[in-house]
């Protein structure tokens, strides 16, 4: 799908001699791949440093406590106990040589305290400073390296951050850059982690997942990725898309459900289908979306309604019906696909933007309500993702969209899918009500 000719050219010999800046080829996840391609520097005196080091070792990686001769594949600095400017200065001392030694597609992951829990003004300032620091590291990082920050609540244990640390260190987070994700005490009752041969693989084993809009593009990638990680996928799309939906369902070993999600009886039909066929639902992915672009000055009610009905109203109705049913139990996850446009606004897309911004509001309002049931609700907000739709854009528009982010390229549908796979794990109960951008740290809306 990624037909980025400029990136390919920039990696060739001629481009090198001409001094054309090189567009990095991002490391992406493949089953059996090690968590990291080189040693990880784990530093900091917070309560997670030890467990992060253990996690890297468990995955077969090497942990170092200072930068040596060679490069490091990851730098994790646990600053959850940082409260003073002196602590911040110590962080600089660790990070300065580390970012210099960072390997291509390297990872910088900071763990910091929550500013809202800070015990004093200086502590709050330090906590907030990490936010700006990580965004800057992301902008300065080269060769496909990323930097992200986990803001961890004081009461959260190492188990709460485990799945997030794995995600942000791995190649699965290739296009997630400059993000700040809050991790709290996991919702619901404590879950026994599933017994896995390899801890990074099959983390969705046996989970029943519904993906709407699964016939093509990002939805198809989500279905593929969830199935690869062991989920039993129910691929949903409008009846007219049935032919490609069959292909997705059969290659994932899943089930195809032809359903117009805007139909009056769609929520009831989905509930009845899941009740009969699976008896439960572990992961609901609201991905289906449409565009009907017009400037607001020319926007008629039909365009407005059709987009809002598919992109937002159907999500609200289906979520409500599923929450009313007994299908979503402790450990269930809801992930909704928002958009960078929903954060930044976009000319000619008032209807689309309203729906995608609305999703963010929905997620934030719903998260605390369903948390006591052990359910989380999160959103992902893709930036410029290379799909059949972007392939038909005018060249200038497409090139602009691709380059104005820190990784200087468009993301792939699988990048969105991997992020949903992380949020969809039972082990990700500490992440709730979050909006995670999958945008390569796009400047739009940042």
């Amino acid at each position: 799908m990624s037909n980025d000719r400029f990136r390919d050219f920039s990696n060739g010999g001629i481009a090198k001699r001409l001094g054309v800046p090189r567009i990095p080829v991002l490391r992406r996840y493949a089953p059996g791949q090690p968590l990291l391609d080189g040693p990880a520097l784990v530093a900091g005196s917070g309560r997670f440093a030890k467990s992060v080091a253990a996690l890297v070792t468990e995955e077969g990686g090497t942990v170092v406590d200072e930068v040596g001769e060679g490069r490091v594949a990851a730098v994790v600095v646990d600053l959850t106990d940082a409260t003073t400017l002196d602590d911040l200065a110590a962080a600089r001392a660790v990070l300065q040589p580390a970012v210099r030694a960072l390997a291509p597609s390297g990872r910088v992951l900071l763990l910091g305290p929550s500013p809202s829990e800070a015990s004093g003004v200086e502590a709050a300032a330090v906590a907030q400073a990490l936010d700006g620091l990580v965004r800057t590291i992301a902008k300065e990082a080269r060769a496909g390296a990323t930097a992200n920050l986990l803001v961890v609540d004081a009461e959260a244990t190492p188990a709460a951050v485990d799945s997030s640390v794995r995600f942000f260190l791995s190649a699965r987070s290739a296009y997630v850059d400059g993000q700040v994700v809050h991790v709290g005490v996991p919702v619901g009752s404590p879950q026994d982690p599933p017994a896995l041969d390899s801890p990074t693989e099959k983390r969705l084993d046996g989970r029943v997942a519904v993906v709407t809009g699964a016939a093509r593009g990002i939805g198809a990638a989500i279905a593929d990725t969830l199935a690869r990680d062991g989920a039993r996928v129910v691929a949903v799309d409008i009846p007219a898309a049935g032919e490609s939906l069959v292909a997705v369902a059969n290659r994932t070993g899943g089930t195809a459900l032809q359903l117009d999600i805007t139909a009056e009886d769609a929520p009831a039909r989905l509930v009845a289908f899941l009740t009969e066929r699976f008896g439960r639902l572990d992961l609901l992915v609201h991905n289906a979306g449409i565009t009907r672009d017009k400037l607001l000055a020319n926007m008629d009610a039909e365009r407005w309604d059709s987009v809002l009905n598919v992109n937002l109203r159907a999500q609200l109705r289906i979520t409500e019906a599923l929450l009313d049913s007994a299908l979503l139990g402790d450990g269930a996850r809801i992930v909704s696909v928002s958009s960078q446009s929903g954060i930044a606004g976009n000319r000619g897309q008032a209807n689309y933007v309203a729906s995608k911004a609305g999703i963010i509001g929905m997620v934030r309002a719903l998260a605390p309500v369903v948390a006591p049931r052990g359910i989380t609700v999160n959103a992902v907000a893709p930036g410029f993702i290379e799909t059949a739709m972007t392939a038909t854009m005018p060249v200038a528009t497409r090139e602009g969209g691709r380059r104005i982010n820190s990784l200087r390229q468009g993301g792939l549908p699988v990048d969105v899918a991997e992020t949903i796979g992380w949020l969809g794990q039972a082990a990700s109960g500490g992440v709730n009500g979050q909006v995670v951008r999958v945008c390569g740290q796009s400047m739009i809306g940042a």
């Binding site: 009846p239 007219a240 049935g242 939906l245 899943g254 032809q258």
Partner: protein, 424 residues
């Protein structure tokens, strides 16, 4: 004996011949339809008891059509399959075969149906040429070969094209049906009315999402392209008759089925198998009967065998014609359906031809082909049985009770009929 459960079905939209599916083969359509069924019921890599299907117009290379479709599908390659062929009765006869094996406990699950293309039809080598070529293949010496090559004539280049006519009468099916229509005095208006209803019923069923879990789009087609949702008796009345002769001719392109391409399959299983796979039981396959008539020398019409099959089926099951909530009478021609109903209502016919004291009587016409039938959907010969079985099973499931009667006429003076009942 247990009754086989009808679990669901899948078909591709039916396309008028030489249209959207002009370049699709029977194997393409059957494999696609099977894959759609696999996706709908989550059967990837599953080994089923058997897949039984067939085609009426069939290339000689498709001698193992259904097995090839299985091998090309996402079903486990360890799923056995075989072909059958009984003209337009193929799809329903395949269903009977699978349902009987399930009832006997020989298999726990199976798929039945059929496919046909009138576009990608087989064209055979001229019969004279074929004889020479066969002999040439068997010749041992150069001398023999040269002698045979000398028998080649320019006229042998003319191929054999399949004919839509009965080999023993030389009449087309439409001409046969026109004779029956005249015998029973089936009016043009009644035929057009039935045809318009078929279109309206099918369109309404699509509009309410009835086919969302019965049909999977194919090659850009999302609905049967013979369907005219705005069809009316008035519009149909404008068409010129194409079958029959003179002023009494009543059969037009509007009240006859067009040549069509398509495929349809039904998933059947035991209750236990369905439960183990968390699959619904829409209906149960109760019983079936076939009949044949001597349309060559006797008094019966080519497409009237169901008239004989149904009374025998009813008697064996202790039922009357009025004991049904749905009637699915295949609309080969509107006149066929109306002549069949007229025959069941006729006391003289009952006594003399069916050997019954009283006629079967009339049916509640509001229960006939309520989700449309072949006049609207089209009629890819072997696919019609699968379309009807799946449609009726879903109708019964929606109603939650009752039973339905299927009646399908077939070339060669044959008829296949069956009873389905709602799953309790």
């Amino acid at each position: 004996m247990r009754k086989a459960a009808v679990i669901g079905g899948n078909r591709i939209p039916f396309a008028r011949a030489n249209g959207k599916y002009a370049r699709a083969s029977n194997l393409d359509m059957l494999t696609t339809t099977l894959d759609g069924l696999v996706a709908r019921f989550g059967l990837a890599d599953e080994r089923l008891g058997e897949v039984v299907a067939g085609a009426v117009l069939k290339h000689s290379r498709d001698f193992n059509l259904t097995r090839e479709a299985v091998l090309g599908s996402r079903l486990a390659p360890s799923t056995p399959a075989y072909d059958i062929q009984q003209a337009c009765g193929t799809g329903l006869e395949a269903t009977i075969a699978v349902a009987n094996k399930i009832a006997l406990g020989q298999i726990e699950s199976g798929v039945a149906g059929g496919v046909d293309t009138a576009s990608d039809a087989p064209i055979a080598v001229n019969e004279d040429l074929r004889k020479v070529l066969v002999a040439l293949n068997g010749a041992r010496t150069l001398q023999q070969r040269l002698k045979l090559l000398g028998k080649l004539r320019p006229g042998q280049i003319v191929p054999e094209i399949p004919q839509n006519s009965e080999p023993r009468t030389g009449l087309s099916m439409g001409e046969h049906a026109a004779i029956t229509a005249r015998e029973w005095g089936v009016s043009r208006e009644a035929q057009d009315e039935l045809a318009a209803l078929s279109h309206q019923h099918l369109a309404a069923a699509y509009d309410r999402g009835f086919f969302d879990d019965l049909v999977t789009p194919y090659l850009g087609l999302t609905r049967d392209d013979n369907l005219r949702p705005d069809s009316t008796v008035e519009k149909l009345a404008r068409l010129t008759p194409v079958f029959g002769k003179g002023d009494g001719a009543t059969m037009t392109a509007g009240n006859s089925t067009p040549l069509t391409d398509g495929a349809a399959l039904t998933l059947l299983g035991s209750d236990e198998w369905a439960a183990a796979h968390n699959l619904p039981v829409l209906a149960r396959f109760v019983d079936a009967e076939t009949a044949a008539v001597d349309y060559v020398h006797g008094r019966d019409g080519l497409l009237t065998a169901p008239v004989y099959a149904v009374p025998r089926l009813l008697e064996r099951n202790g039922l009357t014609l009025q004991d049904f909530d749905f009637y699915e009478i295949h609309e080969a021609f509107a006149s066929t359906v109306l002549a069949t109903l007229a025959a069941w209502e006729d006391p003289g016919f009952a006594k003399e031809r069916l050997g019954l004291d009283a006629p079967l009587g009339s049916i509640d016409r509001s229960r006939l082909n309520v989700a449309g039938s072949s006049l609207a959907a089209g009629h890819p010969f072997a696919a019609t049985g699968g379309r009807i079985v799946s449609t009726l099973a879903k109708l019964l499931h929606e109603k939650g009770s009752g039973r339905g009667l299927i009646s399908i006429c077939a070339a060669g003076g044959q008829g296949v009929v069956a009873i389905l009942e709602a799953a309790a």
